[in-house]
C-alpha cells in the first residue's frame, strides 16, 4: 500500500492537503506588501528566505470573504515548475501520512470555486480532507493573469475584507 506524506491546512473551516514535497516551507506572516494592479486574489508580495514571492489569498481564491491575518495565519511557500508561490491560509499545523487507497475522486457534492483544483477527497479517521492539485491551483492563476484587465479603475480601496472581482 503506497502512503504519501501531506501537509494539512485550513481555509474557511475546511481542511485541505498538499503533498509535502510540493511545500518548501511554512512560515508565520505578519505583513504582506500590496502590489498595485495584481490579480484580485493576490494580496501582494512577501520576502521569504530572501526571495520575493507572491502571496495568494486562499480565501479569496476559493471565493470566501477575506479575513484579517492573525497568529494562526500561515504562508505555505509551494514550489512548482521553478516557481515559488506563497499560499495564505488560516492555519497549518500538521503533517499526515495518507494511504493512496483512502483518497477518492471528488463527488458531485463538492461545489464552489475550489472544486476545479481538487484531486480527491481523503477520509482519515473521522475527518474529511480535500486533497488539492498544486499544478491546477497555480496553472489557473496563470490563466487569471492572462485575462486580467490591463488597468483597474483608480481610486479603489484596499483591504482584506474587500472582494475585487
Amino acid at each position: 500500500m503506497t502512503t504519501d506524506n501531506y501537509i494539512l491546512f485550513t481555509v474557511a473551516g475546511t481542511s485541505y492537503a498538499l503533498p509535502s514535497q510540493d511545500v518548501a516551507h511554512v512560515e508565520m506572516v505578519d505583513q504582506v506588501t500590496r502590489v498595485p494592479n495584481a490579480p484580485a486574489f493576490v494580496d501582494g508580495v512577501v520576502f521569504s528566505r530572501g526571495q520575493v514571492v507572491p502571496a495568494i489569498n486562499m480565501r479569496a481564491r476559493f471565493g470566501f470573504e477575506r479575513a484579517a491575518l492573525d497568529v494562526s495565519s500561515r504562508l505555505l511557500v509551494v514550489q512548482s515548475k521553478g516557481r515559488s508561490v506563497g499560499l495564505l491560509v488560516d492555519s497549518c499545523r500538521e503533517f499526515m501520512n495518507v494511504p493512496q487507497s483512502s483518497i477518492h475522486p471528488p463527488g458531485e457534492a463538492l461545489s464552489g470555486l475550489s472544486a476545479q483544483y481538487v484531486d480527491g477527497m481523503a477520509s482519515v479517521g473521522n475527518r474529511l480532507i480535500v486533497v488539492l492539485s498544486l499544478e491546477r491551483l497555480l496553472g489557473s492563476t496563470e490563466h487569471a493573469v492572462a485575462t486580467r484587465p490591463r488597468e483597474q479603475a483608480s481610486g479603489e480601496g484596499h483591504g482584506y475584507t474587500e472582494t475585487r472581482n
Binding site: N5, H25, Q31, T33, V35, V42, T141, H158
Partner: protein, 644 residues
C-alpha cells in the same frame, strides 16, 4: 565646532576601523612572544603606531575615553619596546582586553550610545606597568606644555576671505614651534583639510584664540614616535591614504555608479533614435554608427564592472576578528580551540563583508559552544585535546565560497528533531537528510541551548543567518558527521545587484525609486497643480510639466497632503513629474526581481528588503512616466486635430 566634528566623524570611524584591524592582527602575532625577552620589534612597532594613531584621531574628534585608553596601551607598548617590562600572559590578556574595550568604545560612539567607561582598563594597565616594570607612565594628554601636537586646519571661503589660509597657518605654527610633518587630507564631505604635527608650546589660551580660524589642536604624548601621523600606516594592507592605495568614500563610488546608470539610459535612448533614423540614413553610415553604439555599450559594461571591482575588499576583514571571539569563548567554556584561517585575500563586495560579519560570527560561536567537546571528552574519543575551527574562503567564477568547519562532535540529528518537536515546529517524517536538518536548525524559534547561553543571548539565531544569506542572494549547506565535526558551506555572489534608491511614501506604503531614473527632485504645493488638456500639470522652471500622482497610478488611497515631492523623470519635452507624498530617505538597496507572473505588473520592477524583512516595491519610474507621456501625448494630438 560641532560642524567641524561632524565632518570628521565618518573619517574617524573608517580610520579607527583600519587601526583596529591592524591591532587585531598584530596581537595575534604578538601572542607567540609571551614570556620572551626579545620580542619581534616590527610587531611592537606596528601596534605602537596603531595605538598612537588611534589616540591621535580620537583626540581630534574629542573622543576622550578612547583617547585615554589608547594612550595607556601605547605607554605599555613603549615599556615593552624599551625592554622595561616583559610581556606576561596577564599583559597579553590586558592588551587584548584593551583592544576590545577600544573597539566597544568606538562602536558606542558610532552608535551614538552612552560613552563606555574605559577608566577601569586604563587603571589596570597603569598598575601593570608599575608592577611589571620601572618605566614612567607617559605624561597625560591634558598636559599643555611644550610637546607634540596634532594641528588640523580646515580652510573655508570665509576664512580665506579673512586672510587665514594654509600659508598663514604654517607661518603661525613656525612661530610657536617646529613643524614635524604636514599633509593635506580630504574628509568625507570632499573638503580639504591640512594636518600638521608640531612640536610647540601650545597654551589653552592659544587653542581658544585660534579655534575660530579653523585650527584644532590635539596633544600627542611626548616621546611619541616622530613622524607617526594619524592616517598614515602603509603596513596594514588595507586601503589607506598612502603608498599605492587611496581611500575612497563609498558614497563617491555610488556617485560613479549613478553616473554610469545615466550613461546606460542615454545609450539606450541613442539606440532608440538610431532605430528610428535607419531609413533616413545611407546603409553604410548607419552600420558605422550602429557599430559605435555597440562599442559604447561594451565599454559601459566594463566600466560598470570596473567600478564594482573597486568595491571588493578581502574576506580577511571578517576572518581576523574570529580568533579573538573564539579565544574568549573557549576560555569561558573551558575548551581549547585553534583557529586556522585560509584564503583571507579572497575579495568580495564591501557591502557583503559588512553584512556577513554577524552570520560568520554566529556560526563560529555555534561551533565553539555546540560543536566542540571539552578536552576530557575529546581525549576519551581519541581526539587531540585542542579542537580546530577552520575558516576558509575561495573564489570560483562569480561566487565566493566561505566554509566554517569544526572537528567537534557533529550535530545530533535525534536531539535536533526532538527539540524541533518540542518547539512545535513541523518535522517531516522519515530520515532527516542534511537539507532537512538545516531547515530545522534554521527555523525561527529553534535553539538547542538555554536563554542564559551566550550565543542565544545575542538573539541572532541560525534563522537570521539563513535569512541574511538569502537576502544577499547566497546559499548555505551543512555537512555533519557524528564524532567528526560539522562544516557549513556558504556561497555568495561576488557582487550584488545594488542600486542607490530614493524611498518615498505614497499613502500608507513606502516605495523605492532607483536614483538612476530620477533626473531631479522637486517640491510642489497641491494648490499649484492645474488641469490642462485632460492631464495635470504644474509650472516648473517656467514651463508646464505634466505630473502623475503615484497614488493614482498605484491604486493607493490618496493622502490629503498639501505639498508633494516629485521625481522628475526624463528631460525637455519628455519630462514628467511623479508625485509622492514625501521622499523619506535615500539608501542603497539590494534589488530582487519579481519574476512570478502573478506579480509582474507594469511600473514595478522588483522588491527590496530594508532590513525589517518586509518587502518594499521598487518602482520602474521610467515605465510609469512613459505611460503617462503616451496618454498625455494622445490627448495632445486630439486637441491639435480639433484646432485644425
Amino acid at each position: 565646532m560641532t560642524d567641524f566634528l561632524d565632518n570628521f566623524l565618518d573619517d574617524y570611524f573608517a580610520e579607527a576601523e583600519e587601526h583596529l584591524a591592524v591591532i587585531r592582527r598584530a596581537l595575534l602575532t604578538l601572542e607567540h612572544s609571551v614570556g620572551q625577552r626579545r620580542i619581534d620589534g616590527g610587531v611592537l612597532e606596528e601596534l605602537f603606531r596603531s595605538f598612537h594613531s588611534l589616540k591621535g584621531i580620537a583626540g581630534m574628534v574629542d573622543h576622550r575615553e578612547t583617547e585615554a585608553l589608547a594612550h595607556e596601551l601605547e605607554s605599555y607598548l613603549r615599556a615593552l619596546r624599551e625592554g622595561d617590562v616583559i610581556l606576561t600572559t596577564g599583559g597579553m590578556d590586558l592588551l587584548i582586553k584593551g583592544a576590545g574595550a577600544l573597539e566597544a568604545s568606538i562602536a558606542a560612539r558610532r552608535a551614538k550610545g552612552p560613552a563606555r567607561d574605559t577608566g577601569v582598563v586604563v587603571e589596570e594597565i597603569q598598575s601593570l606597568i608599575t608592577r611589571d616594570g620601572t618605566s614612567q607612565p607617559a605624561a597625560k594628554p591634558e598636559s599643555r606644555g611644550r610637546g607634540n601636537w596634532l594641528c588640523t586646519f580646515t580652510p573655508s571661503p570665509a576664512l580665506i576671505a579673512r586672510g587665514v589660509n594654509v600659508d598663514v597657518v604654517r607661518s603661525r605654527l613656525r612661530e610657536i614651534g617646529e613643524i614635524i610633518t604636514a599633509a593635506p587630507m580630504v574628509n568625507a564631505q570632499g573638503s580639504v583639510a591640512f594636518q600638521f604635527e608640531v612640536s610647540a608650546a601650545v597654551s589653552d589660551e592659544l587653542i581658544e584664540r585660534w579655534q575660530p580660524d579653523g585650527l584644532h589642536f590635539t596633544p600627542i604624548a611626548p616621546g611619541g614616535a616622530p613622524g607617526a601621523r594619524a592616517g598614515a600606516d602603509d603596513r596594514s594592507g588595507s586601503i589607506l591614504s598612502s603608498g599605492h592605495y587611496v581611500r575612497v568614500d563609498l558614497a563617491r563610488l555610488d556617485e560613479l555608479m549613478r553616473m554610469i546608470g545615466n550613461l546606460v539610459i542615454l545609450r539606450s535612448r541613442l539606440t532608440d533614435t538610431l532605430a528610428r533614423s535607419e531609413r533616413h540614413m545611407p546603409p553604410g553610415q548607419y552600420r558605422e554608427v550602429q557599430d559605435d553604439a555597440e562599442a559604447i555599450e561594451r565599454e559601459l559594461r566594463e566600466l560598470r564592472e570596473g567600478v564594482m571591482r573597486i568595491r571588493l575588499v578581502p574576506v580577511g576583514e571578517i576572518f581576523r576578528r574570529m580568533p579573538f571571539v573564539v579565544r574568549d569563548l573557549a576560555r569561558d567554556s573551558g575548551r581549547s580551540v585553534n583557529v586556522v584561517l585560509s584564503g583571507q585575500d579572497t575579495k568580495i563586495d564591501k557591502f557583503l563583508v559588512e553584512r556577513m560579519m554577524d552570520p560568520v560570527l554566529h556560526l563560529v560561536r555555534n561551533a565553539v559552544s555546540h560543536g566542540i567537546e571539552t578536552p576530557v571528552e575529546r581525549g576519551a574519543a581519541g581526539k587531540p585535546p585542542a579542537a580546530t575551527i577552520r575558516l576558509s574562503a575561495s573564489a570560483s567564477g562569480e561566487t565566493v565560497v566561505i566554509e566554517i568547519a569544526d572537528d567537534g562532535r557533529g550535530i545530533d540529528v535525534d536531539k535536533v528533531t526532538a527539540r524541533a518537536k518540542q518547539a512545535g515546529l513541523p518535522v517531516p517524517s522519515g530520515t532527516i537528510d542534511a537539507v532537512a536538518l538545516l531547515e530545522l536548525i534554521s527555523a525561527p524559534g529553534f535553539s538547542t541551548r538555554d536563554a542564559s547561553d551566550r550565543v542565544s543571548g545575542r538573539g541572532f539565531g541560525m534563522n537570521v543567518v539563513r535569512e541574511t544569506l538569502q537576502e544577499l542572494g547566497g546559499t548555505m549547506q551543512v555537512e555533519t558527521h557524528p564524532g567528526e565535526g560539522t562544516r557549513f558551506i556558504i556561497e555568495l555572489p561576488l557582487t550584488l545587484a545594488i542600486a542607490a534608491a530614493m524611498l518615498a511614501r505614497v499613502g500608507d506604503q513606502i516605495f523605492a525609486v532607483p536614483q538612476a531614473a530620477v533626473r531631479e527632485v522637486a517640491e510642489f504645493e497641491a494648490a499649484s497643480i492645474r488641469a490642462m488638456q485632460g492631464a495635470e500639470v504644474v509650472e516648473f522652471r517656467g514651463a508646464p510639466l505634466p505630473v502623475v500622482r503615484l497614488s493614482t497610478a498605484l491604486n493607493v488611497a490618496p493622502s490629503d497632503a498639501t505639498r508633494f515631492h516629485a521625481f522628475i523623470i526624463g528631460s525637455g519635452a519628455a519630462a514628467v513629474g511623479l508625485l509622492v507624498d514625501r521622499i523619506v530617505g535615500h539608501r542603497e538597496i539590494v534589488v530582487r526581481t519579481t519574476a512570478d507572473p502573478l506579480i509582474r505588473v507594469e511600473g514595478v520592477s522588483g522588491a527590496t528588503d530594508l532590513g525589517d524583512g518586509r518587502a518594499v516595491l521598487i518602482l520602474d519610474a521610467g515605465a510609469i512616466a512613459r505611460q503617462a507621456r503616451d496618454r498625455h501625448g494622445r490627448r495632445g494630438l486630439t486637441v491639435v486635430r480639433g484646432i485644425a
